[in-house]
């Protein structure tokens, strides 16, 4: 048989016209697609700034975050105190830097935990189906049927609040939505023809689940993860507002905001709630932008 040539011969004239005929690596394609999304890039830059500021807090912070100067309490932003001081005369800028460490750590670690658990259980439930699916999903229903805020409060009161316990609790409660999402994705993906095709080449079940189907479900998982980071940072603030989150004098964005929730402060010292409030808002929004950008960039079906 004569060798069949499809219309796939690279013509040298294409290169002369500056059209590339070679292939880029996966990483190059993903990077190019990500950088085309302006919002995602801005969000990414901002997150990098916050994360490095948090890591370098001891170097950058002009004051110790817990050093009180009662004489200078609630002073307006000035050259000495860039973002003013709180009601104990502590430098808000320094406290924000240290607070970022706590808030981001809680956000990242607990989402990493909850996404891992949720993806694992959701994937198994969706792919295997039947009784396994029923058991896992009823368990999810049970957890979801308990109002999470009360459960959080109860758990936090039983175990003394602390960063490690907060992370554990958020991870163990937050996986349910991911599990549902991943299960739904798997239900529709498992009947796709490429899954049958990978069975015909002898691929083992665990490999089909985790290396064939899971990459196809990555988009929604990443978006859900970035949304959850925002949610956890907010939830940590919520718990701190109730006095059950990170305990003072350690700074977190949540307990700073809680500390500022005082009528006279809100009325007279606008800069105090503004700092942590704006940081929470910006961080959550940026995570969402980056999540969107990553989803589009990682999906090879979305053309450049």
């Amino acid at each position: 048989m004569a060798k069949i040539n499809l219309a796939e011969n690279p013509s040298p004239s294409l290169e002369l016209h500056g059209i590339k005929t070679t292939r880029d690596t996966m990483l190059q394609i993903v990077a190019r697609k990500f950088f085309r999304n302006k919002l995602a890039v801005i969000g990414g830059i901002f997150l990098i700034v916050i994360i490095s500021a948090a890591l370098l807090a001891p170097v950058i912070a002009p004051y110790s975050p817990e050093k009180q100067k009662l004489l200078e309490k609630l002073s307006v932003p000035s050259r000495e105190h860039l973002l003013g001081t709180d009601r104990f005369g502590r430098d808000i800028f320094s406290r924000l830097l240290y607070g970022a460490r706590i808030s981001l750590l809680v956000g990242f670690a607990s989402v990493l935990g909850s996404i891992t658990i949720g993806t694992f259980l959701g994937a198994i439930a969706g792919y295997v189906g039947g009784i396994v699916d029923a058991l896992i999903m009823r368990f999810v229903d049970i957890i979801l049927s308990i109002p999470s805020i009360f459960l959080l409060i109860t758990l936090v009161t039983i175990f003394k609040p602390g960063v490690d316990k907060l992370i554990l609790i958020f991870a163990l409660l937050g996986w349910t939505t991911t599990a549902r999402l991943v299960r739904g994705e798997f239900l529709s993906l498992r009947s796709r023809e490429f899954v049958l095709a990978s069975k015909t080449i002898g691929t083992k079940t665990h490999k089909i689940i985790f290396s064939h189907i899971l990459p196809n479900a990555m988009g929604p998982i990443i978006v859900s993860a970035t949304l959850s980071i925002g949610y956890v940072i907010l939830a940590e603030s919520g718990l701190s507002y109730l006095g059950l989150g990170i305990q003072p004098p350690v700074a977190s964005w949540g307990n700073m905001l809680q500390d500022a929730q005082n009528f006279t402060i809100l009325l007279n010292s606008w800069w105090y709630p503004l700092g942590p409030g704006l940081m929470i808002l910006l961080t959550v929004v940026c995570f969402n932008f980056v999540g969107d950008g990553l989803r589009d960039a990682l999906d090879p079906k979305i053309n450049e």
Binding site: E8, R23, R192, L196, T203
Partner: protein
Amino acid sequence: MTALLELKNLKTYFKRKKIEIPAVDGVDLVINKGETVALVGESGSGKSITSLSIMRLIPSPPGRIVDGQINFNGQDLAKLTEDELCKIRGNDISMIFQEPMTSLNPVLTVGEQITEVLTYHQGMSKTMAKKKAIEMLELVGFSRAKEIVDDYPHRLSGGMRQRVMIAMAMSCNPKLLIADEPTTALDVTIQAQILDLMKDLSKKFETSILIITHDLGVVSEIADRVVVMYAGQVVEEALVEDLFENPLHPYTEGLMGSVPSIEEDLDRLKSIEGNVPAPENLPAGCRFAPRCPHKFDRCTAEMPQLLKINETRAARCFLYDSKEVPQ
């Protein structure tokens, strides 16, 4: 010739609302080494379920192989465990599908998908496997195999994807290739190329092919032998020339009659009256009897057996029963 695959009385039933539906009902089929057999029949006749039963990939529940043997190369596949089957799938028996657009994983590169078969079955290293994958792609007719190997499926056309599927299916040099309507989704010129390629490869690697199709053109192009299925049963078996020259079973006759001919000028194509009976509501006698132009009393009362007419031919019809007085 020695038999590579032999199905004996294969029965695959599906359970729907507590009723057992016989999708495949006692199929006997032999495929010899190096032979290409076409399995022909209309939608719902059980051809695809037969092929999935051979791979033991019937979705279960609701499907189940209730009876029969699948003798392949000295083993009864119906009795193997899932682990043993994984070693056979892709290595000894592989399969390609109707829809090349959806049968490749969209988030893995072509190379990743081909190398997976090689690293798993042949224990190759990643670099070796990639080299072999490029070789396979060249073999199926890609001149830029080195670049295609790093491409994602969405960059390829339907015909190119079907080539990739063939490259993947053939990479471990299987003894049997099952092709489930491999050309249905492709346009006619590409169809011919793909069939040529399959013929070529089967000769080169001495691979037997079981091709499932409802396109008689494809059958005449590629097959050595034809097995016609109707409502879950084999109704006729013949060498391809014999079948086209002289179809025995009235159903086959009807199929042949419905193919448009260049010589005749017809306003309407001939068709077989009526529909395939629903599998949960099969007639008691011959399953084709309600649509058969030659039927007589015995047909509605008794189920005909697959009658051997000579070495290579068999038909499930009382017309060829020597005890029967010709009408």
